[in-house]
């Protein structure tokens, strides 16, 4: 920004004085979806603990974390996608598909007497690349074939999910390094190594979403794609990066589940995209784009997986989870709507 001329004296009096009444401050705190989510989550933990004291233990926390990790990996990618105004339905299928392909690679390497660490590293890279590949196909379908994200990712959901079943015949693919499953054992309180890696990945993604240009462009596209394009942002390239990231994270989730189960299961990711989307929406992101926070997604995923574990522990049939999740989604979205209608200046 360089202008040669000095300031113009006239200042347009369009300024609106900042209102910091106590009323608006209270609205600010309650309007903060992350704060509400945190309260809801703590209330859930308190309730389940009250109903069954076993709930408040390192073992249960470890269980919740190992449920949470694949969900939050998918949801992290989905957060970028949803903020950009899109949707990625393929992440669950990609989780299963990448886990299966990774399992085949690790099975072959184990049969051919490769060292376990090298085999596992190769498995990780394979899962990541498979996920990245599907993500790039999604981007291609959206950018070049001009499909809306819903249809494009519905297509890859079908393709990846179908291929997983066709390749495996529906059963799990084992025969990888026998030490794989021991990696999933928590060693730092409730945290296992893959969980710690997941947390690191999510934090990194959060930093890029909120503090870096990558995130800024993601919000801009979801908020007003026309404005983003007019400002010189390469929208197609950013869309490509976003769906590639979503695929990559789904691939990592595939490896996470492989380590947890000790095999690649073609059905393991079925329906997981809905958990991911639910976490993102509960976390405060708007499906219309431009809105959402990584902390919201993280808490959304915690609330989902806490409900699942909690219901089992207090002896309620786990299918009730669907009902609870439905209530949570409806509640989260209505809070958003209320906040939007009250928080906007005339």
């Amino acid at each position: 920004m360089s202008l040669s001329e000095p300031a113009v004296e006239k200042t347009i009096p369009t300024a609106v004085a900042e209102k910091t009444t106590s009323k608006s401050r209270a609205r600010g705190l309650l309007g903060n979806q992350q704060f509400i989510l945190l309260l809801v989550w703590f209330a859930m933990i308190a309730l389940f603990t009250y109903l069954n004291h076993i709930f408040f233990s390192v073992e249960v926390a470890g269980n919740i974390l190992s449920d949470w990790s694949p969900v939050v990996l998918l949801a992290t990618g989905e957060t970028f996608v949803v903020i950009s105004g899109g949707i990625d339905l393929s992440v669950g299928a990609v989780l299963g598909f990448s886990g299966v392909i990774g399992a085949y690679v690790m099975q072959w390497m184990t049969t051919n007497k490769f060292e376990a660490p090298i085999t596992l590293a190769a498995g990780l890279v394979t899962c990541a690349l498979v996920g990245l590949g599907v993500g790039l196909i999604n981007a291609l379908l959206i950018n070049k074939a001009r499909l809306v994200p819903f249809i494009a990712t519905l297509a890859t959901l079908g393709a990846a999910g179908g291929m997983s079943i066709v390749l495996t015949g529906g059963g799990p693919i084992a025969g990888g390094p026998p030490t794989a499953i021991s990696l999933s054992v928590p060693w730092l309180g409730p945290f296992s190594t893959p969980t710690l890696v997941t947390i690191g990945v999510v934090i990194l993604c959060g930093l890029f979403l909120h503090l870096a240009r990558f995130g800024r462009y993601t919000y801009a596209i979801g908020s007003n794609a026309f404005a983003a394009r007019a400002a010189g942002i390469n929208v197609q390239r950013q869309i490509t990066k976003i769906y590639a990231l979503s695929g990559l994270l789904a691939g990592l989730a595939g490896m996470y589940l492989y380590l947890r189960l000790g095999s690649g299961s073609p059905t393991s990711g079925q329906g997981a995209e809905l958990d991911a989307i639910a976490a993102v929406v509960i976390g405060g992101a708007a499906l219309s784009g431009g809105e959402g926070r990584m902390t919201g997604t993280v808490l959304g995923a915690f609330i989902l997986t806490t409900v699942t574990s909690g219901l089992i522990i207090i002896g309620v049939a786990p299918n009730w989870k669907q009902v609870v999740v439905a209530v949570l989604i409806a509640g989260a979205v209505s809070i958003q709507q209320l906040r939007r209608s009250s928080g906007r200046a005339a």
Binding site: S4, P13, T14, R216, Y219, A220, G290, G343
Partner: protein
């Protein structure tokens, strides 16, 4: 208010530009010039070719025939980004702001400042510095916004438009194209926008002002170009028009 030196070399110019969309001729052999420190009004009825000419000037569309010259050098814009880089800012009729982003994020959209060092290479933003500079830059072009870290969705329609124009004026190095900037604004807010246009002119920018509101055009421009059915039917100093003759020329009732 014809302070512009019309005998000097034009800043921005299109020569014999035509644009066809299939069999439809949207622009037919159009030539126009704009000088530094000059405000040119571009008027015409719906379908006269204003939007097409704006798209050609802003680099969004490539002309079928004809030349585009900036500072006397022929240019070929492949995208609006090319024109932007060369110093030509366009404010489109559809609001050019991202409502979920803050004022400063909008001012710096596509031109973000990054931190120094490794973090900057990774694209981490220098947010504080951008907040401060956005505020200062908007103030300099005559726009006061309460807080540049506020999201645009919290601003009124007039404030939004002021920010959009302020951004364009603050970044423009040579030419600023304003497509219906006073649309949907109240009288006071429209007056404020016209003040910003005058400020841009004083800073030596070439301003192309497209509007249906003829009193605004008559009050702020130095010269008016009238388009009709894809051709320029009149290009004359604003002093040669009044509200009636301008309307007559636009509708084709007055022919010269």
């Amino acid at each position: 208010m014809s302070s512009a030196t019309h005998d000097s070399a034009p800043l921005y110019e299109v020569r014999n530009v035509s644009k066809h969309y299939g069999a439809v001729v949207a622009l037919d052999d159009v030539s126009m010039k704009i000088h530094a420190g000059e405000v040119v009004g571009l008027v015409g009825d719906n379908g006269a070719g204003k939007s097409t000419l704006v798209k050609v000037l802003s680099g969004a569309h490539q002309p079928s025939h004809g030349q585009i010259l900036l500072d006397g050098i022929e240019r070929h814009w492949k995208s609006p980004h090319d024109a932007l880089e060369a110093g030509i800012e366009t404010l489109y009729q559809e609001s050019g702001l991202a409502p979920h982003l803050s004022v400063s994020a909008n001012v710096f959209l596509g031109r973000e400042e990054v931190r120094s060092g490794v973090l900057g290479k990774l694209g981490f933003l220098a947010q504080k510095s951008m907040d401060v500079r956005a505020h200062a830059d908007l103030e300099r072009v005559g726009i006061a916004v309460p807080s540049s870290s506020r999201s645009v969705s919290q601003l009124s329609g007039g404030q939004r438009q002021a920010v959009a124009i302020g951004r364009a004026v603050a970044w423009a190095k040579k030419v600023i194209i304003l497509d219906e900037p006073t649309n949907h604004l109240g009288a006071r807010q429209a007056g404020e926008v016209l003040e910003v246009i005058k400020a841009a002119k004083e800073q030596g920018l070439g301003v192309i002002f497209i509007s249906h509101t003829l009193p605004h055009v008559l009050s702020v421009t130095d010269r008016i170009v009238v388009l009709r059915l894809g051709r320029i039917v009149r290009d004359a100093p604003t002093s040669e028009f009044n509200a009636d003759t301008l309307l007559g020329t636009i509708t084709g009732l007055i022919t010269t």
